[in-house]
C-alpha cells in the first residue's frame, strides 16, 4: 500500500509538469505575447508578466515578443546641409514594441530585425529632411546660443514618431540621439590645411606676445631701477644738506677768530696728508732741522759765559 501511495504521488507530479508544459505558457517580465488560434491572432493582448492558460499546439501557438527598449543604429551616411556641407551623421534610436497586436501581423513573427529594416528607412528620410533644414553652424558652434544640436535631435525624434504613428506599426520611439558626426575624406584634408595655417598664425602670435611682454617687463624694470636710484640720490643730497646745515651752526664758533680757525684746519690737513706713504725732502733750513747746522754764536749765550 505504501508503495502505491508513493508511486501515485510521483505520477501526479509528472502529470502536473506535463500539463504545465502543454496547457500553460508564461510571459516573462521582458516579454509580451501574442497567441494565434489556428493561425489567427487572438484579440487578447498579453503584456503583463504572468502565467496564462492556452490550448496546446496545433490549436494555439504562442508568439513571444520583446517588450524591452531596443537599440537601433542607422548607417553613417552623408546628408546635405542647406549651406552645402556634406555632413556624415549616425543616429541611434531607442524604440520598443508598444502594441503587440498591431506589431505582430506587420512584421513576420514579431521580428525585431524586420521592424528595424522599416525603421531604418524612416530614420534615414527624417535625417535627410531635418539636417537639410539646418546649416552647419547649428551642429557645431562655440557660441552656446547658436547651437541647436539638441533641437535637431528633438525634431528628428518627432518626425520619426509621427511617421511611425501614421503607419500604425505598434511601435513606440522613446528617444533619438546623434551618435556621430563626420566629414567626407576630401573635406578632412581641407580642414587639416586650415588647421595647419591656424596653428602657424597662433605660433607667430605667441612669439610676438612673448617678445613684446618680455621687452615691456625689462624696460619697466630698468625705468623703475633708475627711478629708485635717482630718488635715493635726491634723498642723499637732502641728508648731506642737513648735515651741512647743522655743521654750519658750528661754524659760527669759528667766527670768533677766523684766522685761528684756518690755522688749526691747516695744521690738521698737513698732518693727515702726510700720515702714510709719504716721502719728505727737507733742507737744512727747515725747523727743527735747522738745529743740524753749525750753530751761530748767540749773544745771549756769550754773555752768560762771561759772567
Amino acid at each position: 500500500m505504501k508503495r502505491n501511495w508513493l508511486t501515485f504521488i510521483t505520477g501526479l507530479l509528472l502529470l502536473l509538469i506535463f500539463g504545465l508544459l502543454l496547457f500553460v505558457f508564461q510571459v516573462r517580465k521582458s516579454e509580451m505575447a501574442v497567441v494565434t488560434t489556428f493561425g489567427k491572432p487572438n484579440a487578447r493582448q498579453y503584456t503583463e508578466p504572468d502565467a496564462y492558460f492556452r490550448w496546446p499546439w496545433p490549436i494555439q501557438k504562442v508568439h513571444k515578443l520583446d517588450q524591452r527598449i531596443q537599440n537601433f543604429e542607422d548607417r553613417f551616411e552623408e546628408v546635405l546641409t542647406p549651406d552645402g556641407y556634406n555632413l556624415l551623421a549616425n543616429v541611434y534610436v531607442g524604440w520598443r514594441i508598444s502594441d503587440p497586436k498591431l506589431f505582430f501581423p506587420k512584421f513576420a513573427g514579431g521580428s525585431v530585425a524586420e521592424a528595424e529594416k522599416v525603421l531604418e528607412s524612416i530614420v534615414r528620410s527624417a535625417k535627410n529632411e531635418i539636417v537639410g533644414k539646418h546649416p552647419f553652424a547649428d551642429f557645431i558652434s562655440t557660441n552656446e546660443k547658436e547651437l541647436k544640436f539638441a533641437q535637431i535631435e528633438e525634431e528628428m525624434l518627432k518626425k520619426v514618431q509621427s511617421q511611425i504613428a501614421a503607419n500604425n506599426y505598434g511601435v513606440e520611439i522613446k528617444f533619438l540621439g546623434i551618435k556621430r558626426l563626420g566629414l567626407p575624406e576630401a573635406v578632412t584634408q581641407a580642414v587639416f590645411d586650415r588647421m595647419k595655417s591656424e596653428r602657424q598664425v597662433l605660433v607667430s602670435r605667441i612669439e610676438n606676445e612673448g617678445r613684446e611682454q618680455a621687452s615691456n617687463i625689462r624696460s619697466a624694470a630698468e625705468s623703475e631701477a633708475s627711478k629708485t636710484v635717482a630718488e635715493a640720490e635726491a634723498v642723499a643730497n637732502g641728508i648731506r644738506g642737513e648735515g651741512e646745515a647743522e655743521a654750519a651752526k658750528s661754524f659760527a664758533v669759528f667766527q670768533q677768530n677766523p684766522d685761528f680757525a684756518n690755522m688749526i684746519l691747516k695744521f690738521n690737513a698737513l698732518e693727515q696728508t702726510l700720515k702714510e706713504k709719504s716721502t719728505i725732502i727737507l733742507d737744512q733750513n727747515t725747523s727743527p732741522l735747522d738745529l743740524l747746522k753749525a750753530p751761530e754764536p748767540s749773544r745771549k749765550t756769550q754773555s752768560t759765559n762771561t759772567k
Binding site: S30, P49, Q70, N71, S141, R218, E271
Partner: protein
C-alpha cells in the same frame, strides 16, 4: 504459497525448471522495481532541491515565478546569500550585477586601433587623411578635428529596469556617452578642448550624460568620465600643433627670464639706493661730528692762543712736524750747496709701491 504448504504437510512439490525460472524473474523484477522507485524518488528530491541557489556578493537576483517577479518593486531583489526557488519551469532565477562598477568606453571619436596595440601602447600608422568609415574623430566648435576618447564608470541603481526594460542596456549607455562626446566637442574650440579648458570639456560631457540618463531613465549612477583628447596624428597637422606647444614653452621661458632680470635689477637698485642714502647719512654724521669736534677744539684752544699767539704757533708747529716726521715713510735730507745755488732734484716716479707704515 505459504498457505498452501501449511494445509498440506507433505513434502514440498518438486520445483520444475520453468517455475524456477519465472520465480527468479519475478524476484529480479521485484527488486528492480525497488531500484527504479528509489531512483524516481531520488530524482524528485534532486529536482526539488535544484531550486536552491546562491547570490554572490556583487549581485542581486530576482526570482520570476511564471515570468512575474516574486515580490513588489525593489523588494523582489534578493541580496547575497543562500536562497530557495522552485525549479524550472515554475521559477527562473535572474542575476543582476549591481554593486560592481561597469565600464564603458566611447566608440566614436578615436582613431582605429586594436586591443593588442592598446596593450603594447603602440598605434597603427596614421593614413594620409581620415577615412570616416575606419577612423573616428570629432568636429570641434571651431570646425577643427580632434580625436577624443571617454571612459565611463557606472553602477546600476535600478536593477529591475536595467535588466528587464532594455534589450541591451550597456550599449545604450555607450551611445549616451558617444552622443555626449559629439555634443560637447561641437561646443568647444580645439584649443579649449585640448589644453585650455579640459576640465570644462569633461564637465560638459558629464552634465550631458546626466541629462540623457535622466531622460532615458537608464537606471544607473555615473562617475565623471575620464576624457583624453589629442590633435590629429596626420602630418603636417601633428607638427603644427607640436610647434604651438613649443612656442608656448619658449614664450614662458622668455617671460621667466625677463622677470628674473627684473627682479635682479630691482634688487640691485634697491640695494644701491639704500647704500646711497646710508652713505649720505654716514657722511652727514661724520661731517657734523667733525665740525663739532673741531669747533670744540677751537673753543678749547682759543683762550691759549689768545694769550700768546706766536708762542702757540711755534709750539703747535713743532708738535705737528714731530708727528709728521715720525709717520713719514722716507725722509731725505738735502743740504744746501756751498755756493748758495739751488740744488736740482730729480725724482723717479712709479717706483716700487711703498709698504704701508707698520703701526
Amino acid at each position: 504459497m505459504s498457505e498452501h504448504d501449511h494445509k498440506h504437510p507433505v513434502a514440498p512439490a518438486p520445483v520444475t525448471p520453468e517455475e524456477a525460472g519465472s520465480q527468479a524473474l519475478s524476484h529480479a523484477l521485484g527488486s528492480s522495481f525497488v531500484i527504479v522507485r528509489v531512483l524516481m524518488i531520488g530524482l524528485v528530491i534532486v529536482f526539488l532541491g535544484s531550486g536552491f541557489f546562491t547570490v554572490g556578493p556583487q549581485e542581486q537576483a530576482i526570482v520570476l515565478r511564471f515570468g512575474r517577479p516574486v515580490g513588489e518593486g525593489n523588494k523582489a531583489l534578493l541580496g547575497p546569500g543562500f536562497h530557495f526557488a522552485l525549479p524550472a519551469p515554475v521559477d527562473e532565477v535572474v542575476r543582476i550585477p549591481i554593486t560592481q562598477m561597469q565600464t564603458v568606453t566611447s566608440s566614436v571619436g578615436w582613431y582605429a586601433t586594436t586591443p593588442e596595440m592598446e596593450a603594447t601602447k603602440s598605434e597603427p600608422p596614421p593614413g594620409p587623411s581620415l577615412n570616416p568609415a575606419i577612423d573616428g574623430y570629432l568636429i570641434t566648435g571651431d570646425a577643427n578635428i580632434v580625436h577624443a576618447r571617454a571612459t565611463l564608470r557606472y553602477r546600476v541603481t535600478d536593477p529591475i529596469r536595467y535588466q528587464f526594460d532594455f534589450a541591451n542596456a550597456p550599449s545604450l549607455v555607450g551611445n549616451a556617452l558617444n552622443e555626449a562626446l559629439v555634443y560637447a566637442a561641437g561646443q568647444y574650440s580645439v584649443d579649449d578642448a585640448l589644453t585650455r579648458d579640459v576640465t570644462g570639456f569633461r564637465d560638459k560631457i558629464y552634465n550631458r550624460l546626466l541629462r540623457l540618463i535622466d531622460q532615458q531613465q537608464l537606471g544607473i549612477a555615473i562617475d565623471p568620465p575620464t576624457v583624453q583628447v589629442i590633435p590629429p596624428r596626420q602630418e603636417p597637422v601633428k607638427t603644427a600643433f607640436a610647434r604651438v606647444l613649443d612656442a608656448s614653452i619658449q614664450r614662458d621661458k622668455q617671460l621667466n627670464e625677463a622677470r628674473r632680470y627684473e627682479s635682479d635689477l630691482l634688487t640691485t637698485a634697491r640695494a644701491d639706493a639704500a647704500s646711497i642714502t646710508n652713505s649720505a647719512a654716514a657722511d652727514r654724521t661724520r661731517m657734523v661730528r667733525f665740525v663739532a669736534a673741531e669747533a670744540k677744539r677751537f673753543s678749547d684752544l682759543l683762550p691759549q692762543y689768545e694769550k700768546n699767539p706766536e708762542m702757540w704757533y711755534r709750539l703747535q708747529q713743532t708738535e705737528v712736524l714731530r708727528r709728521v716726521f715720525t709717520n713719514a715713510q722716507e725722509k731725505i735730507f738735502v743740504s744746501s750747496r756751498a755756493d748758495g745755488k739751488p740744488r736740482e732734484l730729480r725724482v723717479q716716479l712709479s717706483r716700487e709701491p711703498q709698504k704701508p707704515s707698520q703701526k
